[in-house]
């Protein structure tokens, strides 16, 4: 049976309760009759022979690029950059896509006698990856061949020696990227395009850039003008990245872009019910739901977090394309939409969503309140093309425990931002003007970013900016079942039950609102008409 496309379910009296994520747990909730639930398409069938497909893509590039084999020659400097720990979500079962692609690339490089090869994790301002994480992403073979010789690097946006300023775009934006990448005879970027935001010119222009360069598109104005940042044609974030990407190409950086898409097979079989439609749950699904959710309720938070972060997704490759950036990205988006796009007609008054335990910035870490806001209002709210799922002035209801918890190693500046800045103000423009520079240049954050495993000092502010479009658009944000103090600090309202949250929402949008629930997983993108 071929995978079924996504669809919009209208809840009636015989609709079973809907599964809603709630951090490191989930629950079943009966949505009001007449509500809509948006389900993504079922996971596409993976490529039959992924290694062959990768080799085929390398030999048959898109756009005006020569096959990779023809771009490699002895004595050249080759740099391979790859996406960091934030992709894919959850981390996939070995072998990771990056491993498969990079091994194929290295096989060609070895055949061509390329000696000077360096691998760079394109961190941008994210935390450095640990050795086991790198090993997971790249596989033992690549890790052993590069790491011991110091040839496996992680991009350092705070290392002036290893950055190069390539010039300004016609909008006056600084373009400053990793020196080794820029000065190589060939730069290969290996992407995992989990969402439509990833890839394209954003890979190099963001992943290998410095703060000086990033601040031109990671700011409140850009985010407010990105409708949404998942739709590159209406996203200021992407326009800026595209300008930068073109300037990078004009400065003579030769780039061979490799993009991959995965299917939405997100959870292993034991948790298979998470991605099934509720009315199709088998006896086994129902039993494992009951067992899992009651076990999670009883176990300490730390343990359930460990268990969830050990989940490895059975994601598999649905497409791989290589060659010139723009041609590649176009084809990637088509493949991504094939897996994720769902047509939804009309906006809604109230959008509800259950947030899972993981987002791009808390892999093997804690989902702190700022990341909750970012995942809900930054990512999930923006999973649309055309119009937002929720009308202007509408309400978003988020289900997440939103604990007042931070990982001090990974998110040191988040703690200060939450304790000291959000306590003061939640206004983005004020925060940007008053605090951004001091957070970006604080020597302690810089030290931790460069030598420990910390996100950059300015990262929590970016996460807050990520919510800009949503906060400007919405009338109210309500968090169900969250830590009241933390939710209050974010400037949202809290409700203890879904029913209470709907009552609160009615204050804003009026009686009998239309309700739409975003059923994630699987990851989807609403094409709202």
């Amino acid at each position: 049976m071929s995978p079924r496309p996504g669809f919009v379910l209208e809840v009636d009296r015989s609709t079973p309760a809907t599964l809603i994520w709630h951090g490191e747990g989930f629950r079943l909730e009966r949505l009001p009759v007449g509500s809509r639930v948006v389900y993504g398409p079922e996971p596409l069938a993976p490529l039959a022979n992924s290694d062959q497909a990768i080799r085929h893509a390398l030999d048959n590039p898109l756009g005006d690029s020569k096959p990779l084999r023809a771009l490699l020659y002895p004595g050249m400097r080759l740099t391979i950059a790859f996406d960091d720990i934030s992709l894919p979500l959850p981390p996939m079962r070995p072998p990771d896509v990056r491993q498969r692609v990079i091994e194929a690339v290295l096989d060609l490089a070895a055949d061509s006698g390329v000696d000077d090869v360096v691998l760079i994790a394109a961190l941008a301002l994210h935390r450095r990856m640990t050795d086991p994480e790198l090993r997971h992403a790249l596989g033992d073979r690549v890790f052993e061949a590069f790491a011991p010789h110091g040839l496996l690097l992680q991009h350092d946006a705070e290392d002036p020696q290893n950055l190069i300023h390539l010039g300004f775009t016609d909008h006056g934006e600084d373009v400053e990227i990793n020196r080794r990448a820029a000065e190589s005879d060939l730069l290969i970027y290996v992407n995992i395009n989990l969402s439509a935001m990833d890839g394209g010119h954003k890979s190099v222009a963001t992943g290998l850039a410095s703060y000086r360069s990033l601040k031109h598109h990671h700011n409140v104005r850009s985010m407010m003008n990105s409708h949404s940042f998942m739709d590159m044609h209406h996203s200021e974030l992407h326009s800026s990245n595209w300008r930068m990407g073109r300037l990078i190409a004009e400065s003579g950086v030769k780039l061979f872009q490799i993009e991959t898409t995965l299917n939405t097979d997100t959870f292993p079989e034991q948790l298979g019910f998470l991605q099934k439609r509720e009315w199709e749950w088998s006896l086994r699904d129902r039993a494992s739901f009951l067992a899992t959710s009651s076990a999670l309720e009883r176990m300490p938070g730390e343990l359930s977090r460990r268990i969830f972060h050990a989940v490895r997704a059975p994601h598999d490759l649905t497409s791989v394309q290589a060659g010139a950036v723009e041609a590649v990205h176009e084809s990637t988006l088509a493949n991504l939409y094939r897996q994720q796009l769902v047509e939804v007609s009309g906006q809604t008054d109230v959008l509800t969503m259950g947030l899972p335990y993981i987002g791009p910035y808390n892999v093997n870490s804690t989902m702190n309140p700022i990341l909750v806001a970012c995942l809900g209002l930054g990512y999930f709210f923006n999973l649309y093309r055309g119009k937002p799922l929720v009308r202007e002035g509408g309400v978003v209801i988020i289900s997440h425990p939103t604990p007042w918890e931070f990982n001090p190693v990974h998110h040191p500046s988040y703690i200060d931002f939450f304790e000291q800045v959000l306590a003061e103000t939640t206004d983005m423009f004020e925060i940007e003007a008053k605090y951004e520079e001091s957070y970006a240049t604080d020597p302690w954050y810089v030290h931790l970013y460069r030598t420990s495993y910390a996100y950059h000092g300015v990262h929590p502010l970016y996460m807050w900016y990520w919510c800009a479009h949503a906060l400007q658009h919405l009338g109210r944000v309500i968090v169900v079942g969250g830590d009241r103090a933390a939710v209050h600090r974010l400037g949202f309202s809290s409700a203890s039950t879904f029913a209470d949250a709907l009552e609160l929402a009615e204050d804003v949008v009026g009686r009998d609102p239309t309700i739409t629930h975003l059923h994630v997983p699987s990851l989807l993108m609403a094409d709202v008409t």
């Binding site: 990982n407 040191p412 703690i415 200060d416 304790e419 000291q420 003061e424 020597p443 302690w444 209050h488």
Partner: protein, 424 residues
């Protein structure tokens, strides 16, 4: 005359200590040596002394420490029993130049009050707090009014004061404002004594009466670059901000706040948190005076920085390695006298009057109790922060007050307008 008298009674002293340790601060008063007694009016100790009838008298942190039996034994030789506590007083003067007027007393019993002439170098220089003769002269030992057998104290319906101790209260001052002048003067002195250069980063630990007064004084008299207050309770946090703190953080957040402000690096603890800073703020005003607060001060002060103990410390346990290695200055700030200001020497109390008026410190007076309800009053004062209060005072304005007479002050339901609602 009615008074709360504190006797030398070792078993009751010990009982108060035990009770305060077991049941919490303020609980010692029921079993301790403080008693409401009817006593004969005090004799006038000598020329220049007048009678004062207290209107309001505050309960100070040092009073609480005494009642709990946890004050330092250092004070044993410089107090005389039995004494009547109360050194934050506004009252009506009977006799002398200020006859019939309201006055605030400056409680230090220096050379002048003790009839010592020539005065000691401290008093001669106007620094009464540094008096070297507080156990001598024609008075019994006692560092302040409220700790001396011969003068009585504010927790009574009458006591005696030397004219040099009296500061007339302007007519537009309420009694509540006037009773705040003494604590404000302590803060003014502490702030003036540490000679803050403009632009310094200052952290104030503790937001009780003294902490809040220090914040107000810093704002009014210095130009701190950044002023951070560490406050535990919501009312304290709100007041700290109102009085001029740039940032108010909870206890436990002080290291992060100080680190952010100073852009310092930090040494990490094993769980990834911050153990202590390598740099830090320029000045810490410790308005708590405990081992913990001193430790916290050491954690966040920069090398070569200063720590000022404003809150009354007792025996504290401290690791002085940072003091040595980082050349930190640790100093105390006690009482008042005269201050060197850019405009010339000024009396601390005059500066304090201005501060109370400018910062509207009367709002710190949260509840008034008649003497008869001293147990409740002390319990309230001991739990002030938790109960959303700051300064608790005794109210003696209803003469001959008893339960029946105090129509405006209902038992157990203190008048605490504006503070019953805790800020969220």
């Amino acid at each position: 005359m009615r008074a709360l008298q504190f006797e030398r009674n070792v078993p009751r002293f010990a009982a108060a200590r035990v009770a305060s340790v077991l049941a919490g601060s303020g609980k010692g008063v029921r079993v301790g040596p403080l008693e409401l007694v009817e006593v004969d009016p005090l004799e006038i100790p000598g020329p220049g002394w007048v009678r004062v009838r207290p209107r309001l008298a505050g309960i100070c942190g040092s009073d609480l420490a005494t009642l709990d039996g946890r004050s330092s034994r250092y004070f044993e030789q410089i107090v005389s029993f039995p004494f009547i506590p109360g050194h934050e007083v506004v009252g009506d003067v009977e006799g002398g130049a200020l006859d019939g007027r309201r006055a605030v007393i400056e409680p230090v019993l220096g050379c002048e009050a003790r009839g010592i002439d020539p005065p000691c170098p401290g008093c001669a220089a106007g620094r009464k707090g540094s008096c070297e003769r507080i156990a001598f002269g024609h008075l019994s030992p006692g560092l302040q009014t409220g700790y001396c057998r011969d003068t009585g104290g504010g927790w009574s319906t009458g006591f005696v004061a030397h004219q040099s101790q009296l500061h007339a209260v302007p007519d537009d001052f309420s009694d509540e404002a006037a009773v705040m002048v003494e604590p404000a003067a302590c803060a003014v002195h502490a702030v003036c004594a540490c000679k803050i250069a403009g632009g310094e980063r200052v952290l104030v630990l503790g937001a009780g009466t003294i902490g809040l007064c220090v914040i107000a004084a810093l704002r009014a008299l210095c130009l701190p670059g950044v002023l951070v207050a560490v406050a535990k309770h919501p009312t304290q946090r709100r007041l700290a901000r109102d009085l001029g703190a740039d940032q108010v953080v909870r206890p436990g957040e002080h290291k992060r706040a100080a680190r952010r402000l100073s852009g310092s690096l930090a040494l990490e603890s094993s769980d990834g948190g911050i153990e202590r800073l390598t740099g830090g703020v320029d000045l810490v005003m410790d308005c708590v005076g405990s081992s913990d607060s001193l430790q916290q001060s050491f954690d966040v002060v920069r090398p070569g920085g200063r720590i000022v103990l404003v809150g009354m410390p007792g025996v504290v346990k401290a690791d002085l390695a940072p003091l040595w290695q980082r050349e930190i200055e640790l100093r105390g700030a006690y009482a008042y006298g005269s201050e060197d200001r850019p405009e010339g020497p000024r009396s601390t109390f005059q500066l304090a009057f201005e501060l109370v008026r400018g910062a509207r410190l009367e709002r710190l007076v949260s509840a008034r109790y008649p003497l008869e309800h001293y147990e409740d009053a002390v319990a309230h004062a001991a739990a002030a922060g938790r109960r959303g209060a700051v300064k608790i005072v005794f109210d003696m304005r209803k003469r001959g007050s008893g339960l029946d007479a105090s129509s405006t002050v209902r038992p157990r339901r203190p008048d605490s307008a504006g503070t019953t609602k805790e800020a969220k």
